[in-house]
Amino acid sequence: MAGYLEIRGLVKRFGEFTALHDIDLDIAEGEFVCFLGPSGCGKTTLLRAIAGLDPQTGGTIRQRGLDVSSLPPAKRDFGIVFQSYALFPNLTVHDNVAYGLVSRRKTRAEIGRRVEELLALVGLPDSGRKYPAQLSGGQQQRVALARAIATAPGLLLLDEPLSALDARVRVRLRHEIKALQRRLGVTTIMVTHDQEEALTMADRIVVMNHGVIEQVGTPQEIYRRPATAFVADFIGAMSFLSGTFEAPARVRVGALAFGVPPQDGLAAGAAVQLCIRPEDVQVRNLPADAANRVAVSVAELDFVGSFCRATLDAGAGVTLTADFSSNLMRDLGVELGRRLEIALPPDRLRVFAA
């Protein structure tokens, strides 16, 4: 897998504040990568450094083997869509999309054809003569996308492109952008703080926090095997239990002990966080020899629509959450105060040094 974009030792400082610490990252040609993290984690800073808009303090960026670290944005090869879209309000949709084509020695007819093609591609075939203000947010977003890909850049940068839209439009556009990216095969980096967006769209996710990369992986890897407590907490829902590690594969939480997958690099007696996702808590059809059985009582029930998120009290201050489907609620007669027997499957447990 030839690296299309290679980032080495990238550092960005604003005065005393370090926004990016020593970032290393490889992105393959044609990949769809999401930078995901809370606000202020450095994801947009990294994107803007790649574009050359806010140059890095140190480190190198190579694009298609060429060192672009010190090139101004105009000499780099990328198209960009901003959260605000930055459409030119006084130009028609047609002129917006044609903006980058005009200076490329093309005839009017050629440009016209290309613009029609692009507008059809983003699903706005007849909107060329409108002004941006006459379009909905979702339509403006598509025009911005068409303008960014008009010059067929090798790299497409999307800076929170969906966050200004309402929820329904956002979900629809996710699929459209992803489909378009597949069709064009353009290497794409999208910045987002919305994990669902990242999980559904990305080939790989780069989870960032405080200017460092916490984990790089496919959505499944990130969700199933979070590399750090931060990732575990940030992506999806997760219960955290504080305990101590007992070699080789046990964690003691208060009076309870849980079998966990073997851990490397943890010393016996180390303080750890034991994690499990709410949907991984087993309640029904527990085999007699199920590992990690715990007796709990239902302390809280939050109705979330298709399921209930329950807070379970295992005594001695240990609580965790579990998701119960409506069927399960009915079958087991789950209600506040009900005592239950649950199991935490060892292969679903994650252990992090505290």
């Binding site: 020593d22 808009l53 901003f82 309000p89 006459q134």
Partner: protein, 563 residues
């Protein structure tokens, strides 16, 4: 940490656009240094020299402060300025309050009338008062002939400063969040309490700003004190007397510096205060729409009616005075005073000089100010040069026109200066006027530029479109309303200004506003009034044309703003 951080930040290569923009910024800085910083420096230096240019240290300043008449002028200036501030701000506040918070019939009319004084040279209210209360005035007995002096100056200044203070306070009072008032109502606060706890604090920064603007306007104005001041000397007339009357340039420079001090101080105070202001109006604020309230509305209507009447009376008196055959003995009407050639050698030439100068200042000034603000705003990196330009653009705000004009004499008229050729030409009047009013144009441009999406240049760079193309096709068209505003502002000010240009004209380039001063000096009051009326008519016509064009023409050009 693993990576050893490089000692110096990464150097990013410059694109052709970057280089061009940096070069433009350097040119702008040079322009501002030549037209602002160096003249002021010459003025500062002149104050430490004797008539022959020898360095004499503080001798001039010592002479100044040990001459009772001169010190008295400074005290007079301070006194008049403070009194005017105390009178103008409450009137302007009430007027602005009525415009923004009451239900007034024909509100646009009241708003328009309050702006009228802006289109007049400051000479005009002085002349009108002479007609009304002067030695041969209608109401002479009311003032007992004592209109010449402090009282006259104060009345005329109130007329002249009112629009400036009113505009600031209208802006301050307009930015109100209706939700605050609803909350106060819901909590059962009395009207007085709402006024004291919501309205006044909201307008606090506007009030401070208005007070400082009025103070600065009064202390630096020359025309009013000249016409109606009589034997009541102030700093501005002292500068004129020292320089034009006694040809004592060093002492003129000293008085100029004394005049600069309070104006600069007021500017610094305003700057420090405004920095504390945070945006009162968030995107979610609900605009306040005043509800009718009979008693309040009637009272405010009566107030606004009185103020508007006074403004119109002063303007009307000047118009009438210019049309009367021989005041006060023969009140029949005539247009003979508009035969300017009879009163002043330059005659109508001065009027057309003014038009030429105003057009030049509007075109050159607007271009330099807008492009300059764009360069200062959009150039990547180059922080030091941008900071320098930012500082220089603020300078004119703190410098009275008279002071700048004096600086121009010393700098451009210096024998060794190759720019000497400009002296006495129309160009120097245009250059001086652009420099004098630079700050407002620059700030207007910057505000307009900050309102458009900051990523336009990034998008252009990614599309490999040169930055000047985006400037021409997108940025400038979007900012067109602001650009036209600046041009109108420059035109009107160039038509009415007296202070800086009074030191810089030559017989061939005499301006209408200056000619009016000279004609008035020679005793032809009616002709001076006629010239003032012409100036008002011209600048008001231009402004009216702007409003009409805004309504019917720009609307079509700016179809893209419609949803």
């Amino acid at each position: 940490m693993t990576a050893a951080a490089p000692a110096r930040p990464m150097r990013i290569g410059l694109s052709r656009d970057d280089l061009a923009m940096r070069a433009g910024l350097v040119l702008l800085a040079l322009w501002l240094i030549l037209t602002l910083a160096l003249p002021l420096w010459s003025l500062l230096a002149k104050g430490f020299q004797d008539r022959d240019g020898n360095f004499v240290g503080l001798a001039n300043y010592i002479t100044y402060f040990s001459t009772p008449a001169l010190v008295q002028s400074a005290l007079n200036s301070l006194k008049v300025s403070l009194i005017c501030t105390v009178i103008v701000v409450p009137i302007a506040f009430t007027y602005a309050y009525a415009l923004t918070r009451a239900v007034l019939p024909a509100r646009w009319l009241f708003q328009g009338i309050a702006l009228i004084p802006i289109f007049a040279p400051s000479l005009l209210p002085g002349l009108a008062l002479v007609y009304l209360f002067g030695n041969q005035g209608f109401f002479k007995k009311l003032f007992g002939g004592e209109i010449y002096g402090m009282d006259g100056i104060i009345v005329a200044q109130v007329f002249y400063c009112l629009p400036h203070a009113t505009m600031i306070l209208v802006t301050a009072l307009r930015t109100a969040d209706a939700r605050l008032y609803e909350a106060a109502d819901a909590l059962g606060a009395t009207r007085l309490r709402v006024f004291l706890t919501v309205t006044l604090p909201g307008a606090k920064y506007g009030l401070i700003s208005a007070a400082l603007v009025v103070f600065t306007l009064v202390i630096t104005d020359f025309g009013i004190a000249k016409v109606i001041g009589g034997n009541f000397n102030v700093l501005a007339t002292d500068v004129y007397k020292q320089v034009i009357g006694q040809q004592n340039f060093s002492m003129g420079a000293v008085v100029g510096m004394v005049l600069l001090a309070p104006a600069a101080l007021a500017f610094v105070v305003d700057y420090l205060v405004q920095r504390k202001q945070v945006a009162l109006l968030t995107a979610r604020a609900v605009p306040l729409v005043p509800h009718p309230s009979r008693g309040r509305d009637l009272a405010l209507l009566a107030f606004c009616g009185t103020v508007a009447f006074a403004i119109l009376a002063i303007l009307g008196m000047a118009v009438w005075g210019s049309l009367i055959k021989y005041w006060p003995y023969n009140l029949s009407l005539t247009l003979s005073h508009y035969n300017l050639a009879a009163a002043d050698a330059s005659g109508w030439g001065a009027y057309f000089n003014s038009i030429e100068m105003a057009l030049g200042a509007a075109i050159v000034g607007t271009a330099v100010m807008f492009v300059g603000a764009w360069l200062a705003e959009k150039t990547r990196g180059f922080g030091a040069m941008r900071g320098l330009v930012q500082f220089l653009t603020f300078l004119p705000m703190a410098v009275p026109g008279l002071v700048l004009g004096l600086g121009y004499i010393f700098f451009f008229n210096a024998p060794g200066n190759p720019l000497n050729v400009l002296y006495g030409t129309m160009s120097i009047l245009v250059i001086n006027t652009v420099a004098h009013f630079y700050t407002v144009g620059h700030l207007t441009s910057t505000t307009a530029l900050k309102q458009i999406d900051p990523e336009f240049e990034s998008v252009s760079a990614s599309l490999k479109v040169p930055v000047w193309r985006t400037f021409g096709r997108v940025t400038a068209p979007i900012c067109l309303p602001a650009i036209v505003d600046i041009a109108i502002y420059m035109f009107v000010n160039a038509m009415t200004t007296v202070s800086a240009v009074i030191f810089l004209y030559s017989p061939e380039t005499k301006l209408a506003s200056v000619a009016a001063v000279n004609i008035e000096e020679s005793g032809a009051t009616a002709t001076a009034a006629a010239l003032c009326v012409l100036i008002v008519l011209t600048s008001a016509t231009v402004k009216a044309a702007h409003l009409l064009a805004d309504r019917y023409l720009f609307d079509r050009l700016q179809a893209w703003r419609r949803r």
